[in-house]
Point group: C2
Chain length 335, copies 2
């Protein structure tokens, strides 16, 4: 399990495209109170609008980690980023990266970390060994976001739901299962990086026993209907033993993104399949609401679409970006 040192300095490298800085924008928006500033190379053209702080200055103000908040070509760390990363390590900050390249593959970083006692944190990788899943019922309550596809709002929905519960005074913890989520929460585990045998066991460790009225709001991964990632989804679902599921969906997609021969199932079928799979480790598990990524719909279309879904599925339907998740939080409380 990762445990990261906050607050953060967000590093943007030489980023030219806003979309390449998705991670940094996500961190700014979801844990802005934990971000001291941003830093980038002179040739960068994207900014987060945060105070510019060189690593040494950020360290002086108490930054715990420099977070690589930008995608690199092929996931490989370019050598011209190294001087800034070394400066951060020399100043005692950890480096947090979600790139494919491991930070530990760069001897200059390993040496700098050793000198200052700082840590290299590769959140995409996991060398931790977990016990296999036990299926043992744990105390506390759990809700898991699941999806009709990848990348349609499972992390966003879970973050919004955890906040909404906390705002109601309900004890709730966001549990991160992907690298950006781990950076936002400062803790968690990228389950898709775990050895397949241990996915359910890792998911069990991620949401341990808790107070009876405490909610773990667990970030889902993949989709049961995805030809590449359904196994990860199922292992996470079983290990999470969720009391409640929230189904995330993007109505603009007819097929799995990047897999045009694989249709997105009807929402009713998706709910049935997720509930059936969840019942293995929690017989009371049921879908309590739908979270829609409605960015493709006009206001009028969204009103009509959500009204139709509410009628058809008899469940609350929200878009976290369009009116929040209050009705989901209420449904959880009533469940």
């Amino acid at each position: 399990m990762h445990q990261l040192r906050k607050p953060y300095l967000l590093f943007l490298g030489d980023v030219q495209l806003k979309s390449d800085a998705k991670t940094a924008f996500g961190l700014r928006d979801w844990c802005g109170e934990d971000v001291l500033g941003e830093w980038s190379l002179p040739q960068a053209t994207v900014t987060l609008g945060l105070p510019r702080l060189a690593p040494v200055d950020a360290a002086r103000r108490g930054a715990g980690s420099l977070v690589v908040g930008v995608a690199a070509v092929g996931g490989v760390l370019p050598p011209h980023w190294l001087p800034d990363l070394q400066a951060a390590l020399d100043a005692g900050m950890d480096i947090v990266s979600g790139l494919h390249s491991r930070l530990s593959a760069f001897p200059e970083l390993v040496q700098a970390a050793r000198r200052s006692g700082a840590q290299l944190r590769d959140v995409r990788h996991s060398d931790q060994v977990f016990p296999p899943g036990t299926g043992r019922k744990r105390s506390g309550k759990r809700v898991l976001t699941v999806g009709t596809d990848c990348a349609l709002g499972k992390k966003y929905t879970a973050l919004a739901l955890a906040r909404a519960l906390q705002a109601r005074g309900v004890p709730a913890t966001f549990r991160a299962t992907g690298q950006t989520g781990v950076m936002i929460a400062g803790a968690g585990l990228a389950v898709d990086a775990v050895i397949s045998d241990f996915v359910a066991g890792a998911a069990e460790a991620l949401s341990p026993d808790n107070a009876p009225d405490h909610w773990d709001v667990i970030e889902g991964q993949g989709a049961l209907f995805h030809p590449a990632y359904a196994g990860v989804t199922l292992g996470l679902l079983h290990g999470s033993q969720p009391d409640a599921l929230v189904l995330c969906h993007d109505p603009s997609r007819d097929t799995i993104e990047g897999y045009p021969e694989f249709p997105i199932p009807a929402l009713k079928d998706a709910i049935r399949r997720y509930e059936e799979a969840a019942h293995l480790t929690n017989r009371a598990s049921r879908c309590v609401g739908i979270s829609i990524n409605s960015s493709s719909l006009s206001d009028a279309e969204w009103v009509a679409y959500s009204a139709r879904l509410i009628r058809e599925l008899e469940l609350p339907v929200v878009d976290p970006m369009r009116g929040g998740v209050e009705s989901l939080a209420a449904a959880l409380m009533a469940s």
Copy 2:
């Protein structure tokens, strides 16, 4: 993907219990033509009944690998086994191990291998990176053994079925997905050791495009109803895109082994769940027969039990140990 060097010398260490030498017995029984002999320490009390050959003598007769065919306490290689392993490496043989300890963790083995050019093959571990699954339809035919639980005959059934097809003159290949299977076949991949994100992709690589009338007989893993391993099962099922499924079952079990709170499903439900999951990557996939581990039944009980199942499920029912798998092979040919 592992590719091992045959023929084998089977190493038994200081084994005292027959059950600890399960791997060695499996290799003797399933690829006896590839086994030159056995070797063990003087304190061993179990024998396979094969010619005793010291590593250097086995190498002289052409052995390609010394295979560790015995379980060690905690999966850890005991230091007093090292001299024999070193002797094998010095004689140019590879070492094949399915233990938790990695062979490469022992400097004396790494050095000996480097000196002679021999390989250390840890079949339990996989450092290979696979592309994610594509879901693309491949040429050739595939059958996958699936189960109501772990450890009830999926490997055995797949091996027997591949042989039965070959005996009929049908081109067929056993595809190993677990460590003992990999040792028997001399090739394959322990899918439970693969990073979870790549399980479906690894399964796709394991049974590549083939001649239209060729059958890949794929060893299944885990069970969809297992709280620890269902994710591995589903990823393997999706990547294998099987045309046919054979469901393996042990009627003496009411609950998942080691998980007394998890019931074994009814066979009808198990078939429905496996077919539904398989349809994601192969809409024509269907269960063509049942393979029973009937060791708990008397002859009379087996006759009655199998007759009842045939009537209820309208599928061929076999026990590979009790009359072979001919009716399964016939059902595959008719499918």
